[in-house]
Amino acid sequence: MAFVITSPCMQEKAADCVDVCPVDCIAKGEDQYYIDPDICIDCGACEAVCPVAAIYYEEDVPEVEEKFIQKAIDFFKNN
């Protein structure tokens, strides 16, 4: 399990989450930031600081945002 960044990030991208991540697992993509699910330790720090509430624990991702789980996996597979 890991935390996942969803669509509200696409408009914001302020990177507050990057500053607080204790394992440096948030990377900038073309249209949004992404959390590496193999490195994320589930501390929840990023979720607490995101100004647009774009970050969810994987199990709590709303149905309409679920595609962002796979999008993050694909991002790290290809980068």
């Binding site: 607080v20 204790p22 394992v23 193999d38 490195i39 994320c40 589930d42 501390c43 607490a48 600081v49």
Partner: protein, 142 residues
């Protein structure tokens, strides 16, 4: 290199990244160093495994799973110790501590580090289990 072996290398690299960010108390430095060294050793074996075929490939993969199990036993020991330190730092009130706002948690610097190190050890175990799953898939398909 096959997708499975590439996945194995990625998991090992990611696990090393987590290990590199851990700031454990000095009493745990030796075990942390040993875990890191052992993961690096396994990582170096992936390239060789990619060149093996048939029975040799199975033997190499089986040997890696054994070594990964041994590493995971050490990680479990470390996790237990880190959990104990985290518990003590919160005065046996982990739940109350985690219900505090993020900023308040960070203010208690030592406790916050204890939390991060404990969660890191948990994730490392998860990743080692995933590495073993990849190796089992290689063994069963060889």
């Amino acid at each position: 290199m096959s997708d499975a072996l590439r996945r194995l290398e990625i998991l090992m690299g990611d696990t090393l990244q987590i290990l590199d960010h851990m700031k454990v108390n000095s009493v745990h430095n030796d075990i942390l160093r040993t875990i890191k060294h052992s993961i690096k050793e396994q990582n170096n074996k992936v390239e060789a495994l990619s060149k093996h075929t048939g029975e040799q490939r199975i033997q190499s993969a089986v040997s890696m799973t054994k070594q990964l199990h041994a590493i995971n036993t050490k990680v479990q020991q470390l996790e237990t110790q880190l959990m104990e330190e985290y518990k003590q730092a919160t005065g046996n009130q982990i739940e109350s501590y985690e219900q505090m706002a993020f900023e308040e948690q960070v203010e208690q610097k030592e406790t916050y580090h204890n939390k991060i190190d404990y969660l890191s050890a948990t994730k490392i175990q998860e990743n080692i289990n995933r590495m073993n799953e990849v190796l089992y898939s290689i063994i069963s398909s060889s």
